[in-house]
């Protein structure tokens, strides 16, 4: 048993921290105000080889593993959840889908370019009538010669308008249910694909999310993910496992950022003749925030370590995502309270963090879906199959 990070990982954390302070933090308020994704930051991160962390060298990656990837997302989320999510969705979900489920040729064709150019990837599963119940998507793909013709629409697709490539899930065999779903790699600018307006959101306003429309959109058969029809839903679930770990990492970073901001504020804010840090109520807030963050930290890193050890990690990823989103929203809420009126004003980052946190129990599988997944494994071991 060894909970220590390697020297390489510690050095990487220092580097990301430095990058976050210099390049990410100064932009955080602007991204939120202007509702735009941090494309310039993504390119700078690419120049520092940050986008290829979890992928093998033969795809242009750094081969540094999921633990190191988790460090990246945690440190980015500590200063700007939108930047962490833009990169997290691109690397941990969009590119990850290609890496986990693509053919060798597809991986070679897409990953090295995305990694080196700072290109973004997207993952298009959700539809107006298919959220938690993802198997009920209606977008169709029909084979026509050496292409598939896609029709339908997707909503809330992160990075949709700024991605080079998007993994799109569509039904190829309506009679086969989840086993009739296939995934396609659709490049930006493919005729028949239209990107809608950016959604106006409560928080995570530096993350671009859009609707995507497919109107007889022809996708080359060579872009059928994994080269096999019907493998799409399996690919989605595998990818979402990693994505949940990635979201848990941003929860950890966001929550840790709340602790640090609250501690500094409680030290500096004077009331009744002394810092409010002297008040038992404030101390209890800070103790609870710090304790929850500490309980989350190694839940997340344990999951990442399972990934790196080649073990199953879906269940752990769900626990980390569920607990992470609870810890993050708890900490953001307490941070606003510690800051009082200042926590409600846009002059302080806490106001943005509180809004950002609210999406965490919702996206990448709602808390309700995570609870179902967690209970379902335990009941399966006890001999009962439960349905959502």
């Amino acid at each position: 048993m060894d909970f220590a990070f390697s020297e390489e990982q510690e050095m990487f954390r220092d580097m990301v921290r430095d990058f976050a302070q210099k390049e990410v933090l100064p932009l955080a308020e602007t991204l939120d105000r202007e509702e735009r994704p941090p494309l310039e930051t993504v390119r700078k991160a690419a120049a520092l080889d940050m986008l290829g962390i979890p992928f093998p060298e033969k795809y242009g990656g750094m081969d540094m593993g999921a633990v190191t990837y988790t460090i990246l997302i945690e440190e980015l989320a500590k200063v700007c959840a939108s930047t962490a999510s833009t990169i997290g969705i691109s690397v941990g979900v969009g590119m990850m889908a290609i890496y986990l489920a693509g053919t060798e040729e597809q991986k070679q064709r897409f990953l090295p370019r995305l990694i080196s150019e700072g290109g973004l990837a997207a993952f298009a599963l959700t539809e107006p009538d298919a959220g938690s119940d993802a198997a009920s998507i209606r977008t169709t793909a029909v084979k026509d010669g050496d292409a598939y013709v896609l029709n339908g629409s997707k909503i809330w697709i992160t990075n949709a308008d700024v991605a080079q490539v998007m993994t799109v899930f569509a039904v190829t065999d309506p009679a086969a249910g989840a086993k009739g779903i296939s995934a396609f790699l659709v490049e930006q600018g493919t005729p028949g694909m239209t990107i809608g307006w950016r959604d106006k959101k409560m928080g995570m306003r530096g993350v671009s999310t859009c609707a995507v429309f497919f109107d007889n959109c022809r996708v080359p058969a060579a872009n059928l993910l994994g080269g096999r029809e019907g493998a799409g839903f399996g690919a989605a679930l595998k990818t979402l496992d990693f994505g949940r770990m990635s979201v848990a990492a941003s929860c950890l970073g966001l929550a840790q950022g709340c602790v640090e901001a609250s501690v500094a504020f409680a030290r500096d804010r004077q009331q009744f003749g002394g810092p409010i840090a002297m008040k038992g109520a404030i101390q209890a807030f800070i103790a609870d925030m710090a304790t929850q963050v500490e309980s989350l930290r190694y839940l997340v890193y344990h999951t990442a370590w399972l990934v790196d050890s080649g073990k199953e990690y879906g269940w752990e990823a769900s626990t980390a995502k569920l607990w992470g989103s609870q810890v993050a929203t708890f900490c953001a809420n307490k941070a606003v309270q510690v800051h009082g009126g200042m926590g409600y004003m846009k002059r302080f980052p806490i106001e943005r963090i509180y809004r950002d946190a609210k999406i965490l129990p919702i996206w990448e599988g709602t808390s309700e879906i995570q609870r179902f997944l967690i209970a379902s494994k335990l009941f399966k071991e006890a001999g009962v199959k439960i349905a959502p």
Partner: protein
């Protein structure tokens, strides 16, 4: 980074689990009902070498470290909270104080028989007017030639009714208070002037002995001063750090045992034509318990690993205590609810656990005082000094 338990620790867990299943679980109801200190179980546990778990072999211990000791606490707590409280007070604070600060001669004379389980230890700090505010103890020790004369009384001392060796804290310089004015002493059962007062009847952990200790001109030889003269409060705090980690591990075992029972019950209990496992309300309870337990596990073993790698753990120990007791509290609450009427009936493990668990938010430093400990340490890092 490596989250795997060593082969030795895995074997240790298996051995203890079998012991608990065979010897402890079948006795747990009687122990509770009869308010019976389980001497038969203790004798068998001692024979297996469990009582010296964290201590080095040179002192008769098992050399299994803090990780090994947490495994013991977790597994024992799955079976019987009273037995765990007894063993925890013996190893985790009574003997631990001697291990942490005793002289080589004291360790030879006292720790060895304690580690071998030939004698039982207790830790005497709390007094009627000194609970969370432990620095305000009044038991007095005055030098008289080669010995010290103790006067005063202690309350709520676990194992107090039958222990052989006590770590007792007394004031040696009232002017200095906690900072240099408190000294720890090793007191043997038969010392003249020392007697056991009344025994408490409790809501839970009824099989653990909770006693009043009375000192009336009790003479303790000078060589039994434990640790540095005047530094008794430091000894107490260091020891309590260790006790708090154990409580985290005990909370983990207690909560896990209930989760296992709940899963099994929900999978088999039928209502409305199917297993209650099919109801989301039940699934939610299971998922939340499992998630918090998973978070707690990572916190406890990470803290134990910090002890074994000689890092400062005061903050994390307090977090283990607060989070462990509260995760357990939420688990017992849900378990009673999930079992319905059954969970309210005497003789049911959930009914007992509900009462047993409540003390964990109180003893070994109330959760309120542990939050102060956490906040003090977190705020100290930014230059704020707070006091309780």
């Amino acid at each position: 980074m490596d989250f795997t338990f060593s082969r030795e620790h895995q074997l240790l867990r298996r051995t203890i689990r079998e012991f608990v299943e065979r010897e402890v679980v079948p006795r747990a109801t009687e122990i509770d009902e009869n308010e019976e200190v389980p001497f038969d179980v203790l004798k068998k546990a001692a024979k297996m070498g469990l009582f010296g778990m964290p201590f080095p072999r040179e002192y008769g211990g098992a050399g299994a470290g803090e990780i090994g000791y947490c495994i013991l606490a977790e597994e024992m707590s799955r079976g019987c909270a009273s037995t765990m409280a007894t063993i925890g007070a013996h190893i985790g604070i009574g003997a631990m104080a001697i291990y942490l600060d005793g002289t080589p001669a004291q360790k030879e004379k006292y720790l060895k028989p304690l580690a071998r389980g030939e004698k039982i230890a207790a830790f005497g700090l709390t007094e009627p007017q000194a609970g969370s505010d432990a620095a305000s103890i009044r038991t007095r020790a005055v030098r008289d030639g080669d010995s010290w004369v103790l006067n005063g009384s202690k309350i709520w001392i676990t194992n107090g009714g039958f222990a052989d060796i006590f770590s007792i804290f007394a004031v040696t310089d009232p002017a200095l208070g906690a900072r240099g004015g408190v000294t720890a002493f090793i007191v043997e059962k038969g010392y003249p002037g020392f007697k056991v007062g009344s025994l408490e009847e409790k809501m839970g952990i009824r099989g653990s002995s909770t006693a009043e200790l009375i000192f009336e001109d009790c003479r303790v030889p000078h060589e039994n001063v434990l640790g540095q003269f005047g530094a008794g409060f430091v000894t107490a705090l260091k020891t309590l750090d260790m006790g708090r980690i154990t409580l985290g591990a005990a909370g983990l075992g207690g909560a896990q045992a209930l989760l296992d029972l709940c899963v099994e019950y929900a999978a088999t209990r039928e209502a409305f034509g199917g297993a209650i496992a099919q109801k989301q309300a039940i699934q939610w309870m299971i998922a939340d318990m499992a998630t918090e337990i998973e978070a707690l596990r990572s916190l406890v073993y990470r803290t134990a690993w910090m002890v074994d790698t000689h890092q400062d753990v005061t903050t994390q120990a307090a977090m283990c205590k607060v989070f462990g007791s509260e995760v357990q509290a939420r688990a017992v609450e849900k378990a009673v609810q999930l079992f319905g009427g059954l969970g309210y009936m005497r003789g049911h493990p959930a009914e007992r656990a509900f009462r047993d668990a409540r003390i964990c938010e109180i003893f070994e430093g109330t959760n309120e005082i542990n939050r102060v400990v956490i906040a003090t340490n977190v705020l100290r890092k930014v230059g704020v000094r707070i006091s309780a």
